[in-house]
Amino acid sequence: MAEQIDVLVIGAGHNGLTAAAVLARGGFRVTVLEARDVLGGAAATEAVFPGYRVNTGAETASLLQDEVVRALFLKMYGLELRDSPVALFAPQPDGTALTLWQDVERSAAEIARLSARDAARYPAFAAEVQTMTGALQSMMLLAPPDLTALDPGALAGWGKVGWKVRRLGDREMMAFMRILPMPVRDYLDDWFESEPLKAALGADGVTGMMLGPRGGGTALQFLYQQLGGLNRYCTVAGGMGALSEALAAAARAAGADVRCRAPVARILVEEGRAVGVQLEGGAVIRARAVVSSADPRRTLFGLVGPTELEPRFMRRVRNILYRGSTAKAHFALSGLPHFAGQESAEQLGGRIRICPSLDYLERAYDDAKYGRISENLYLDATIPSLDDPSLAPPGYHLLSVTVRYTPYRLREGNWEEQREPLGDRVLATLARYAPGIEQLVVDRHVLTPLDYEQHYGLTEGSIFHGQMGLDQMLVMRPVPGWSRYRTPIANLYLCGAGAHPGGGVTGAPGYNAAREVARDLKASAR
């Protein structure tokens, strides 16, 4: 007779681990099953080159929810967050550069070189962003209310959201509703005139999106990216993987069993209820609840299978827009690169953003729209070894580059043959702003959207487990009607970025899902 398990968590990404830790601390017997041999999923640090520790997925923990850190005592389990004073360094084609700091005044001083008007408006902009993200933040740790059931619990949920938005004040509440569906370009045009500034800020709006800055809803993504604070750049000491290690440590300390190299082949469903999983080796593990941090399509089509699903629900899952368009290129460097317009190495401590204008970004999207890799890439580079020398051998540096747009579906060619040309193109683009950088490269590693699908389990390489467009947010995430972490299959839950509130290293979906699972388990025990 096998051991009795309450909850099986599929996937040890940061959301799966968060859910596991919360449930284990709640007294449930939890087992986490991870396919790969490292923890963290897309929040992992791996040795892709000998001697280097590379963040193969996410780079920043700026959006990590304080409540998750506190509730799980992550600092006690080794989590160390580092706020960088510099958020963004944006070199320009003319040899100048714009640096944005976490400090509003300091940023305004930099902006003043471009436009006195914009510099004067920046503090008010920062204040508005703070108000708007405050309203967004109030929805992060709530299960979205059920729109169709008008029971008191659901109404209370809505009332809570409504009240939070209402409390913003009349003007701010209207602004909130007006801004969310806007293109980030229009939103920034309302505030600023300087193109380098608008481009440096606006690029955040297309994170994980197959949309350009003129796409509706990109203003919402821009705000989402500022949840931790406007122009905040926060990393994890030891790399993103250290966060996942801390989460796993918290889970294990509460009694959870976290297993790597345990790929799940399918979720076992009996009489419409999830009863456990079968591993690829054939072993069966049964549990009272199965909580999947894999994305909705992979969970429901890949692990459950369409025969268990009602066709209308299946259609909703099939219609989720994934549209991965992000790749990463990692470079081992024999020294620190020098960018045009750079005055000190300190400026390279945040993101180095190659996106000189919103039209540049729009044209990069145009290529992707027709199934091509952007001719002129939008790049976000970081040099994590600058702040944390343990990530590279002494004297060497690690350059991690997030690359957009690289559409999952290429109209011509395939990602196998495009991988190395993409690496060349990334380097050539960087060299335009950091002459001589090619000579520093000692090794490189490129991850394409296809790699993210095949090795990290992200459907279509979508870093957010489904694009975060307005049509796939809140009550419509992951699919309309099923935003409360449950699925039509009893005892099967979703706790990954495909669920509300979405992607990024927040911990929120895992945290929220765990609460719902615990509620149901307690109710069924009664």
């Binding site: 509703m177 229009d186 467009g469 049509d471 419509m476």
Partner: protein, 525 residues
Amino acid sequence: MAAHYDVIVIGGGHNGLVTAAYLARAGKKVLVLEKRHLVGGASVTEELYPGFKFTVFSYVVSLLRPDIVRELELPKHGLTILPLESTLTPLPDGRYLYRGADHWETLRNIATFSERDAGAYDDYSRSMYFMAKAVKYILGIRPPDPTSYRPRELWGLVEMARHFLALPEEQLWLLARLMTMSAADFVEQWFESEPLKATLSASGIIGTFLGPRSPGTAYVLLHHYMGEIDGAFRAWGFARGGTGGIAEAIARSAQAHGAEIRCDSPVAEVILKNGRAVGVALENGDTFHANVVASSLDPRLTFLKLLDPAQLPGELVESIRSFNTRGSSGKVNLALDALPELVAPPGPGRHLAGSISFSPSVDYLERAYDDAKYGDFSRQPYVDVIIPSVIDPGMAPPGKHVMSCFVQYAPYELREGTWEEKREAFGDAVVDALSTVMPNLKDIILHRQVLTPLDIEEMIGISQGNIFHGELSLSQLFFLRPAPGYADYRTPVPGYYQCGSGTHPGGGIMGAPGKLAALEILKDN
């Protein structure tokens, strides 16, 4: 001393006329002031060349609210709507997609492109029918103010929530997606064949400066489905005598109840006394006085030109300045010596009595948008053609024809050069595109009128030539249209009201803003 009126309506477009007609029926003494020599605004028919009558701007009708047609007795005042039953999508390679009155034929035609699409078509049509029914409610209400705690506003919100939450679950979710998706993504939930996807999603780009893959366009698609003629949703028609026939019928209905209409009377400003609107001054200096002034002009003109912005709350001025009125459409009106020949289907026939959509693929439309977003007109534009003289022979001399081509995209602001220099090149691009499916077109053109957004602005006044008086994007709809706190047809100036397409529920020959504004005016006066 000039006569004193109860209400002065600025602008004799269809919305201004609807407001005037409702107020006149309620016994008010109404004066309509129109700057041009004829009423109608964008809803006019003009004989540009002897014998050739053009629906110069707006060219089809569907959105006109049935309650307005009934209450203003428009048929009695001369309105006849002729059905526009089919949509033809010809392709340069000689294939074509014809969707007409015969349902089974339509399905067979779709099946020649995709069996799957033919199978999905009924489900799509039914879904859109339910969506149109679901939002019909919205067209008849004044948007409640969600920031207000007044019982009336709160009740309005509750009523609205009740209406939508009473929808079957599938419909509610579909509606939520319609409000937020791109038109192309929305139709791709059903279809795979390019001509069908493109022609359907083209309804989502009309009047907007967005491509079919831009989120928000699915709502515009729905906006074009909300039309009802004689209770049949999604029916499009052509007014006998052109769209001018609609304006004239409304004008006659207003006049029959005593409204006075003056053409050639451009208004320069609204006259205020003690902060209250008391009349208007014309450009020639003439003044007219009234208890109430209602502007059917677009929000920019209504607030920033007719009033002194310095007297308005700063927030409102800021909102109106950032109200997106980017014009994106042009119009090419052709007088033809004969009927155009299509590559397919050949010869004359009923397909020429419907609309002809030049929209071969979603990528084609998207590329047309790409040109425009960088400040050029579309080198290969999307064109929606109708041939009014086939539907209503009175529009052209015997044997001759008029052709109305609605074109996107034509940005109001060009990055290089001026519209004066580029107008004819734009016209050529349209004729070239159409010639790929109408080989004889160039040989039969007798006259050509090319209208750019700048021309639309100059001729009928609409800011930046935006045919909806402001984009129908989620940020500019309902209680945000035209500005937060001013979606109730009122303004900060007592006695001054808005009644044009820049207010809820927006553009198209619908009349709803005009009617809803009239009802609010009557409530206050």
